[in-house]
């Protein structure tokens, strides 16, 4: 199998898996007072320090969560609630049109249920945000903005955003800035303190750790109202018995991913460039999406004119090639990608897209397999798409 969907999830690193298994064999609730509990607590706190060190944060700024979606929800809703509690008319939430649904849907929920007002920052044709647009937004609504959220790198088209510039603009207005860095950590340099953001989402399974564990880095001076109520285990912001084994493995993976980032990015970007070049040769009409320079090293995203991404995925899957249409599913039915639509693509181009993402286990053989199967798949997908009655 040629696995070209590392942005969906990537295999666990051996050292993370070993750390997971070893820790999972140990008994102990990190909140218990006895020796077994203290041992678990020590593992959690060591992990907190490792994550903090790897990402340029203080240990007290690391809140372990159940993964990216929870971290995004906690940041968006939690900071919104806390900021509105301080000032009742502070109800505006500013996000971007290319955010992941974990952010977009959380904002929508606040609009529908909490009287929030949404401000949506546009992107240009390569999916990039303009800090000046944020400046204009905050100049107009500054005092009434509860939180700004913009992703570090886009999960579909791979465009890396000018996060530090955006964070600086938010800081000028004293508005907390959250970034979903799920796709960024381990792929590009990420430093919480240096970036100037107030909150940052990271998750384990995109960087070689386990699924179902992640963190929200939350600056000490930023308050968040909890989503989950209970034991208050994490800074009284997040409750739930700590997943000691998951947290240990997550920390191992974060540390390894950050430590190896430069070497990884150079290797994977070279392989990605080869993939892009060979796809262009095989299918000359292909459109390469996203920022050509500021992009994730493992991401290659194309539109195949005259094809449906769904059909291509089915045909490539049958040849043992795993990729993604990158779009959200509604009732199992693919919707045209909101990211591509936001970049100005029309419905057909959005539906004709496929994402190939490389990762730490990718090799040239994966690219060879894709190139071997792609031309015939495109040919067939075109025939299938030509059947559609014009509407």
């Amino acid at each position: 199998m040629a696995y070209l969907d590392h942005a969906a999830t990537t295999p666990m690193l051996d050292e993370a898996l070993e750390a997971y298994v070893a820790t999972a064999r140990e008994v102990g609730n990190a909140s218990s007072l006895h020796a077994a509990g203290r041992r678990a607590r020590r593992r959690v706190e060591e992990s907190r320090e490792r994550v903090a060190a790897a990402l340029g944060a203080r240990p007290s700024e690391v809140i372990f969560t159940g993964g990216g979606t929870e971290s995004d929800n906690l940041a968006v809703k939690g900071v919104f609630w806390a900021r509105r509690a301080a000032r009742a008319d502070r109800v505006r939430v500013v996000s971007s049109s290319v955010e992941h649904h974990a952010v977009l849907d959380a904002v929508d929920w606040l609009v529908e249920h909490e009287g929030a007002q949404a401000g949506l920052l546009p992107v240009d044709a390569v999916g990039r945000l303009d800090p000046e647009r944020l400046r204009a937004e905050l100049a107009e609504h500054g005092e009434r903005v509860a939180v700004v959220t913009a992703m570090w790198a886009n999960n579909e088209v791979g465009t890396v955003q000018p996060v530090a510039e955006l964070a600086a603009v938010a800081a000028e207005h004293g508005v907390p800035f959250h970034t979903d860095a799920i796709q960024a950590v381990g792929q590009v340099p990420v430093d919480f303190a240096a970036s100037g953001v107030s909150a940052l989402t990271v998750t384990g399974h995109k960087l070689g750790g386990p699924t179902g564990v992640g963190a929200l880095l939350l600056a000490r001076d930023v308050a968040a109202t909890p989503l989950l109520h209970g034991g208050g285990q994490e800074r009284d912001v997040r409750s739930g018995t700590l997943d000691t084994a998951g947290i240990v493995a997550f920390a191992v993976a974060v540390e390894a991913a950050v430590k190896g980032q430069q070497e990884y990015a150079a290797r994977v970007a070279a392989l990605r460039d080869e993939l892009v070049e060979r796809v262009r040769q095989a299918v000359p009409e292909v459109i390469f999406n996203g920022d050509p320079a500021d992009r994730l090293p493992g991401n290659a995203h194309f539109s195949f004119p005259g094809c449906e991404g769904d059909a291509l995925l089915l045909l490539l899957d049958a040849q043992g090639i795993a990729c993604s249409t990158g779009s959200a599913c509604s009732a199992g039915v693919a919707q045209p990608s909101h990211v591509l639509l936001a970049m100005g693509a029309d419905d057909d181009r959005a539906r004709s897209s496929l994402r190939f993402t490389l990762g730490h286990t990718s090799t040239g053989a994966d690219v060879d397999a894709l190139i071997a199967a792609l031309p015939a798949a495109v040919e067939r997908a075109r025939r299938a798409a030509a059947l559609r009655t014009p509407r």
Binding site: L314, A318, A331, G332, V333, R383, T389
Partner: protein, 358 residues
């Protein structure tokens, strides 16, 4: 062969897919998303288009170890089946949406897409036999036979279709599903019209066609005997729900004899006035052999689950005409007439057409 199994989430299509796998085919499962706004859960035994059904289909595909995808056919289904259904009622006819779905969606849009993508055939869980001789026959399970709604398929469509269940009864299919560990083994049968979740066809039509008050006229006297709020709410042969203002002079029950959309009139009359012996139909297909030059003695079925009657059938490129050997009541325009040749190995579908007049 590389085949595409259409999987509704029900027990029949799951077992059909399983049998295709067992027959050595390279099987890919596809669930057709037909509803534009699917409900999350099934309610009662109606419909087949909820997210729960989609998940049931996916789970069955998992058990069989075959790839599984959801194909969005909602727009096509809406245009070709739902809109057609409404338009047919508006035109005073009584459509069969399952038949239309087979004709336009499952064995057209889906089959064409499958062929374009490199598949050789489509597998479905319909209860009908389609053997090596290429003849479509009734299922061994007479109560579950679906040959009537498949008879609309052309030779080219049948040549790319596989119906693995025709030799089994529904009870056997359920038992096999249980044996194979398919969780849908006990799932209730779906009934009624899948896109009318609450089963209220009148309400569904009224929402789309609006109120259109008109007269109910007695065929014998020509007198206005009642009023209606939309002629589309009536079907030929209908007795209940007429709400006549006055009883007929002869004191006998009245039935809907015809619907005239141009004057928005529903004509009623006594039961014997429903009897027809001559049926004309359009858009014929003839798959039971070469199209005959003269009349063919056969049996015809005039509605889903209806009785068969002996008839002499003549068919040409444009139409079909049947002389029934004994009169039949309640033949509705828009329904299919299907001609069968009785056969001990399963009655053979000769052909079918859409009834225009009786």
């Amino acid at each position: 062969m590389r085949v595409l199994a259409a999987m509704s989430g029900g027990v029949d299509s799951a077992v059909a897919a399983a049998r295709a796998v067992e027959a050595g085919h390279d099987v890919t499962g596809v669930h057709l998303a037909l509803a534009r706004n699917p409900q999350t859960y099934r309610t009662g035994a109606r419909g087949c288009c909820t997210l729960e059904d989609s998940r049931d289909a996916r789970r069955a595909a998992d058990v069989l170890g075959i790839p599984f995808y959801v194909w969005d056919m909602a727009d096509r289904f809406h245009d070709d089946v739902v809109d057609d259904f409404v338009a047919e009622y508006a035109a005073g006819r009584t459509p069969n949406p399952c038949l239309r779905c087979n004709e336009k969606i499952k064995f057209a849009a889906v089959l064409d897409r499958a062929v374009a993508l490199g598949f050789d055939a489509v597998v479905t869980g319909h209860h009908a036999r389609l053997g090596a001789d290429g003849l479509l026959r009734r299922s061994v399970d007479a109560a579950k036979d679906q040959s009537y709604v498949l008879a609309v398929l052309t030779r080219a469509q049948l040549d790319r279709s596989i119906f693995p269940l025709g030799d089994s009864t529904k009870a056997e299919v359920r038992a096999e599903a249980a044996r194979r560990g398919l969780a849908v083994a006990d799932k209730p049968d779906s009934h009624d019209i899948c896109f009318i979740a609450d089963g209220d066809t009148r309400g569904f039509l009224a929402e789309r066609l609006g109120e259109a008050p008109g007269q109910v006229v007695d065929a014998l006297t020509g007198a206005v005997v009642g009023s209606h709020s939309g002629a589309y709410q009536y079907t030929v042969g209908q007795r209940r729900g007429l709400h006549l203002d006055r009883p007929a002079p002869d004191g006998r029950p009245r039935y809907v004899l015809s619907i005239t959309p141009t004057t928005n009139t529903v004509t009623v009359g006594p039961a014997e006035a429903l009897e027809v012996s001559d049926v004309r139909a359009t858009r014929p297909v003839w798959t039971g052999g070469p199209r005959p030059d003269g009349p063919v003695e056969c049996e015809v079925q005039l509605r889903a689950h209806g009785d068969v009657v002996p008839a002499a059938v003549e068919v040409d490129a444009d139409g079909l005409r049947a002389s029934l050997r004994r009169p039949v009541r309640g033949v509705a325009a828009g329904q299919a007439i299907v001609a069968y040749r009785p056969d001990p190995a399963g009655d053979v579908v000769l052909g079918s057409a859409t009834i225009t007049a009786a």
